[in-house]
Structure formats: structure tokens, C-alpha cells
Amino acid sequence: MNHLTAARPEASGPQPDRRAGYSEFGVVGLLAGLGVLVLIETQQISDSIGTMRTLSPRVVPYFVAAFLLVVAALLALDIARGGRGEQESGEDVDLSHGTEWHTLLGLAALVAGAGQLIPLIGFPAAGALLFFGTTRLLGSRRLVVDLVVSIVVPLVAFFVFTEALGIYLPIGRA
């Protein structure tokens, strides 16, 4: 879900510059790369047994691979003709400065890391780590409030899910 900012033409973002135009071809590369990957992986699927008179498990993957490659070509054509993807705007989004890579990668690492920690330190602790790390990465500097919120929210959520709703979440190997 995004925030779609209606009736605010200025929110559609600055015109993409030339360099941003080249990075659009990255999407073409992604689509084409995935197409080739699906093609290669599909070779591993055997279609011998019992599939003669119906749909072999290879047909749809081959179709998807071809679709990815065709769409990659069409997109390359569109970009070459000057087409640009419209960056998503929104009320909390400021497109006038570039991507903050350290925030992006920091958050991705944080989510991935917290997920791996769940079976080890339990859901409440891993959730609190994720919550606290996110507030700090997003620039909140009220240390005490951040800490309290980061501990209370995961704990409350944990008890609601495990006690009231009967959904299992690990508490850790302590």
C-alpha cells in the first residue's frame, strides 16, 4: 500500500535525470536474469511419467520464462523511447533527495537478523530489538521513550497472540 497523493501534481517527484534513466535498465536486467534462471531451472524438471496426455510440469515454467524475457525486451524498448517508471510518492515521502541507503540496508538487515534470532532468544526479545533498532534508524532520539515503547509493544503483542488468541510464538531457549 502506498500513499497516493491525489491532486498534488508537485508530489509526483522531480523529473528523472539521465543517470536515473540508466538505472531503469537494472529492472530490465532483473527481469531478463530471472527469465534465464527459470529457463535453466526448468531443464531440471523431468516430464516423463504420466504427463503425456495432460500438462507437463515444464510447460508453465517455460511460458513464464518466455514471458519474463519478452516483458524485459518490451521494457527496454519503452525506456529507450524515453519511458520512465514513476516513483511512488506519498505524504511521508520526500523524493527531492536520493535514497538513504544506510537506512534501507540497515532495516533490511535488522528484519532478517531479528527473524533469525526468534528461535534463539524468543519472540518478545527479537521483536523488541527490531522495534528499537527501527526507531533509532528512523531518527527517533528520545532514548527512554523509545526503549519503553520497544519493550512494551512486543510484550503486549506476544501475550495477546499467545494467551488470548492461542497462537504459538517461541519464548526462547532460556
Binding site: 497523493t5 491525489a6 523431468s46 513464464v64 519511458g83 505524504e91 520526500d94 521483536g127 509493544v153
Partner: protein
């Protein structure tokens, strides 16, 4: 009528105190999460789906229905007071609604949205109750190749009709179809695209896909471009309307309902087109053209009614055909499948008690929303001021909660992050997310129907265009693709004007 007695039984089930409580919880939670800026109904559903995991089918679907309607209601509050529509179907509400709020008429905008949602939701749910069984009994006569054609039409419609660039819509669909392939082939039991990873062999769970692309992708995208100045929330009191407002609103509600329901009852539905049509229609018919663009109440009443009516319309195709046409419907489908309920022609025959309790609780939930939310609106508005670091921390936290509780598997969280990064890239380069979600969920269905059709015909592909219905579907698909080509060529020639397409790419 059969439907009426079945519905009364449904009401009896839904009115049990326990089920009423679940409807209440769903409505409150749905509104609460839906009001949060940037969270639309689909993301609300995806984030709250885990709540239902341990419940029985009927209470779970009742809770879910409440969340759905609540999430839609919450989204309109956000659109009006913050100009931040959470989903493309609220864009039209935001245009005039936010102008009204700026002109000090926020209370009236909220009132016409809330009452209009109730009126449209109620009428459309009643229509749903009468059309869905009829459509289901028609659908019984459809063959596998017809269903296959219907899935194709959904793919083409969702990726080329909406959004500013059909090519990017198709690219998003291709990504979704690819993700949908991951897992064990149903016929031969072979692994496809799993790269030897064990936990991928059961496929990527719908919740992980939806939460990853919507919630994590959105949080990452916004976090990397976070505006440093706080967003402007327009204060507004308790919703109310004057007699004049009522007089201007009710025809718009009815017209919006009339546009919204039929559009979304088609397999190629989606709320964007009817809300846009409703807005243009109200603009044409109004006696106060000077107010449009400065906060005209009809411009809120019509699209908001169309939006809610289309929500019920979407359920017609979901319940009667088992085909989701929007992201929200796709997530609802996965909720059904968790309980081994297969939406489709036989749903009404096999599990009438669950379906009718669900339909009855849609009506009850709708009434609850109106009664609760008119007085609670100022409270919900306070949520819009939630500091952004906590908002996005909360979204990420509930994302891992939901995704982890599906399979209790840390690998799912890695998949979640990968999908979140994909969602980020898609937002950066203008690829819409909805076709991907539809591709993941409907792709395997489509393959299954194709396989079924070929089994019956002993592998003869000409069976695919062997029925009149399927031929009609292919004609429509050809028309949609032709339209997309025309648009792609035209977009090149004229510089993009401000149109609904510009903003519709969720």
C-alpha cells in the same frame, strides 16, 4: 426465496454473542490499523490475518470481514484528514475530501464518507446476497477451460487496465507468476524453482508474499525517503451534516453504489475505475460546479460509496467463482483456503452455514462501523499524528509476527526481506504491486485449471477455445491488450496529463 431463509439462519449464527464480539473486535482493529497512514485495506488484512489462525472457520471469517470493512473505513479517514489515501481506490475520495477538510468542512466530509459507506455497503451486500448464489449456480456449468480463460482475463485486466504503464504492469505480473511457481508441482510431486531449499518446497505462503510486498516494501521505501518535517493533519470535530449536505449526498451515494457494484462483480473488477467514473459523473451532474476542486461534498460521497459497493462486488467473484480480482480478495481467498474452504460454485452447497454467517456479519459489521465511528472519529484522527519512527517500527514488527506465525520458520523471514526489497525496487521504478500478488495467488489456480482441461481432452489444446464462453473471454482479452497497446503508443506522443492513471499504481 431460499436466500432469505438461509440469510436468517446466517443472522442467527452471526448474532451469537461470541460472533458479535468477533465482528466488533474486527471492526475496531480494522479501523485502527486502516487509519494508520499509508496502510490500505489489503495491507491491513495481510497484517491482521494471523489473528484468525487459531479460530474456527465461522468466527475467523466474521473477524476477517470486520477487519476488511473497518480497514476500508479507516482508509477514508486518512484520505480526508491527511490526503494520504492508503490504496488507489481512495484516491478520488482524497481529492475533494482533503479540500473540504482544508476549508474547515472536515466533519462533513467524514460524515458523508461514513454514512455513504454504510448506505453503499448495505445495498451492495444485499445485492451480493442475491447475486452470488445465482452466479454460483451459473458457474457450476462452467468447464475448466472457462475458468482458465477467466484467470487469464484477471491477469490481463489487473496488469494493463490500471496503472500508468501497461508494460510495467505486465512486468509485475510476470514476477508474480514466477513466484507462484515456487514449490512442489501438484501432478508429479517434483520441486520447481526451490533451489534445493527445503522450506521453499511448500511454496511461498500468501501471507509472506502480501506482507513482504505491501508492508515491508512500503516501510523500506518510505524509510529510505522519509520526510523530515511532520505531515500536516487537519483537525476536525465529530462528523455531522446539515440538511443541505444530506440533500447533496444521498443521490451521489446511490449513483456511486450503482457504479461500484456491477463493475467489481465482473472478473476484471477493481475499485479504481468505478471510483474514477463516479467522481467524473458527480462533477458533471452537480449544481455546484464551482465547488469542485475546492471541496465539493458530492465528490466525496460518490466515490466513497462506489469504493464500498465495489468491495461487496469483489466478493461476488470471490465467493461464486473462487477468483480474486483485487489484492484484498486475494488475501481473503488465502484465509478461506486455510480452513479448506474452497470458494467457488460449490461453496454455497458445501458450507452454507459459514457463508451465510459471513454474509450476515458483513451487514452487522457495516452497522457497527457507522454506530461506532461517528463518535470515535476524533479519536481515530489522533492516530494520524503517531510519530513516524514508531509507525514504521510497528509495521515491521507486525510483519515478522505475521510471517513467522505462519510456519514457525526463520527462513520465511529471509524470504520476507527479499520480497520487501523487491517491493522497494518496484516502488522505485513504478511497477505496481497488485499484479504481482494476483500472479502469485492466481497463477497456480490457472495452471491447475489448464491441466484439468487438458486431462479431459487427452492433451488436445484446441479444447481451450472449445466453448462459447471461453471464446468470449478471449475476445475481451484481445480487446484489453489492444487498448493497452493504444495507450502505450499514445502516452509516448502526449506529455502525461493529470489523470487517474497517474496516481493509480499501488
Amino acid at each position: 426465496m431460499d436466500s432469505i431463509s438461509a440469510l436468517l439462519d446466517g443472522f442467527a449464527a452471526a448474532a451469537q454473542p461470541e460472533n458479535l464480539m468477533w465482528a466488533f473486535v474486527g471492526v475496531m482493529l480494522g479501523t485502527f490499523v486502516g487509519v494508520l497512514p499509508g496502510i490500505g485495506p489489503a495491507m491491513t488484512l495481510a497484517l491482521l490475518l494471523p489473528l484468525t489462525y487459531s479460530l474456527d472457520p465461522a468466527p475467523a471469517l466474521i473477524l476477517f470481514a470486520g477487519i476488511y470493512y473497518g480497514g476500508m473505513y479507516g482508509g477514508s479517514t486518512t484520505s480526508i484528514l491527511l490526503n494520504a489515501p492508503g490504496e488507489s481506490s481512495s484516491v478520488m475520495t482524497a481529492i475533494e475530501g482533503n479540500k473540504m477538510a482544508r476549508a474547515g468542512r472536515g466533519a462533513q466530509a467524514l460524515a458523508t464518507a461514513a454514512i455513504g459507506s454504510f448506505v453503499a455497503g448495505t445495498i451492495a451486500t444485499v445485492l451480493l446476497i442475491f447475486t452470488a448464489p445465482a452466479m454460483a449456480s451459473f458457474a457450476v456449468s462452467l468447464k475448466a477451460q472457462d475458468y482458465f480463460a477467466i484467470t487469464l482475463i484477471s491477469f490481463v485486466a489487473v496488469s494493463t487496465v490500471l496503472g500508468s504503464s501497461p508494460v510495467r504492469g505486465l512486468a509485475a505480473l510476470a514476477l508474480g507468476l514466477m513466484l507462484g511457481l515456487v514449490g512442489i508441482d501438484a501432478l508429479t510431486g517434483q520441486q520447481r524453482l526451490t533451489f534445493g531449499v527445503d522450506s521453499l518446497s511448500t511454496g511461498i505462503d500468501t501471507v509472506v508474499v502480501a506482507v513482504g510486498l505491501f508492508a515491508v516494501g512500503e516501510a523500506l521505501w518510505i524509510a529510505a525517503h522519509l520526510r523530515q518535517t511532520p505531515a500536516e493533519v487537519i483537525p476536525s470535530g465529530r462528523p455531522w451534516m446539515s440538511g443541505e449536505d444530506w440533500k447533496r449526498s444521498w443521490p451521489a451515494w446511490l449513483r456511486g453504489t450503482a457504479l461500484g457494484f456491477p463493475f467489481c462483480a465482473l472478473p476484471a473488477g477493481g475499485a479504481e475505475v468505478p471510483t474514477f467514473l463516479s467522481y467524473s459523473l458527480e462533477k458533471k451532474l452537480t449544481r455546484h460546479p464551482e465547488e469542485f476542486g475546492h471541496g465539493a461534498i458530492e465528490g466525496v460521497a460518490g466515490p466513497e460509496a462506489a469504493n464500498n459497493a465495489s468491495a461487496a462486488g469483489t466478493l461476488v467473484t470471490l465467493l461464486a467463482l473462487g477468483i480474486p480480482t483485487t489484492a484484498t480478495a486475494a488475501i481473503m481467498l488465502s484465509a478461506f483456503q486455510r480452513y479448506d474452504l474452497q470458494p467457488g460454485p460449490l461453496l454455497f452447497e458445501n458450507t452454507p452455514d459459514v457463508v451465510w454467517a459471513l454474509l450476515a456479519s458483513l451487514l452487522i459489521g457495516n452497522l457497527m462501523l457507522l454506530v461506532l465511528n461517528l463518535p470515535l472519529a476524533p479519536l481515530w484522527a489522533k492516530l494520524l499524528r503517531l510519530p513516524r519512527p514508531y509507525l514504521y517500527a510497528g509495521i515491521l514488527f507486525f510483519s515478522i509476527l505475521g510471517s513467522y506465525s505462519v510456519n514457525q520458520n526463520p527462513t520465511d523471514i529471509l524470504v520476507l526481506v527479499a520480497l520487501g526489497l523487491l517491493g522497494f525496487v518496484m516502488r522505485r521504478y513504478g511497477l505496481p504491486v497488485v499484479p504481482t500478488v494476483i500472479g502469485v495467488i492466481l497463477g497456480p489456480t490457472s495452471e491447475g485449471k489448464l491441466r484439468q482441461a487438458l486431462q479431459v481432452s487427452n492433451g488436445d489444446w484446441s479444447t481451450l477455445w472449445g466453448t462459447g464462453f471461453s471464446i468470449a473471454m478471449y475476445v475481451v482479452i484481445a480487446g484489453l491488450l489492444g487498448l493497452a497497446v493504444v495507450r502505450a503508443v499514445a502516452a509516448k506522443r502526449s506529455s502525461p496529463a493529470i489523470s487517474v492513471d497517474e496516481h493509480v499504481h499501488m
